[in-house]
Amino acid sequence: MENFYLGVSIFLCFFVLLCLYRVVFGPTIIDRIVGVGAIGTKTLVVLVLIGFIYGRIEMFLDIIMVYAILNFIGTLAAAKYFEGRGEI
């Protein structure tokens, strides 16, 4: 099962690279923020899989919870910051 987890992790890292294209070359600033959020969501699943591969999921679970909350708060803060500004 560990080899399957490793394969799924590499698959998700490939999609992180594809999202990174939109972060670097995005037409608007909001595209970049959405790309960072999508990368954070994929990183969450990769962290769970790393916890299962190392067999230390009880330690990684706290990191995963904090990462999910920080991803959410970061996107909300960026949305609030760019809401009052004019044309992007």
């Binding site: 999609f15 923020i33 679970l61």
Partner: protein
């Protein structure tokens, strides 16, 4: 026990499929709002399905019920938080004047 492993593997593979569709839509769609639509819905469902499959496998094979419950709590939190973030940032884009894509005014 083998059938639980099969169900878990199927769940994780379906989650990977939804991650793939969300990412491809995020790369290929023409304007901001449709890209937002693809990645918001696809990633939310993918995280939910993948974490449910992992927690089922963990509870059945290692007997760690508490860790499985924590994984389900993370999945439910993402299931609530990701659409909220999508809505907030989409409203911010609309108030900043990002125009939706239409066929006649196509770029």
């Amino acid at each position: 026990m083998e059938i639980v492993k099969g169900i878990s593997v199927i769940f994780i593979l379906v989650g990977c499929f939804f991650f793939a569709t969300g990412t491809i839509g995020f790369l290929r769609f023409p304007d901001f709002y449709s890209r937002m639509h693809a990645t918001g819905k696809g990633d939310t469902l993918a995280v939910l399905i993948t974490l449910l499959g992992l927690s089922v496998y963990h509870a059945a094979y290692h007997g760690a019920i508490l860790d499985s419950i924590k994984l389900v709590v993370v999945a439910v939190f993402v299931f609530l938080a990701n659409p909220t973030a999508t809505h907030a940032i989409s409203r911010a884009a609309f108030r900043c004047g990002v125009k939706p894509w239409t066929r006649e005014g196509s770029k």
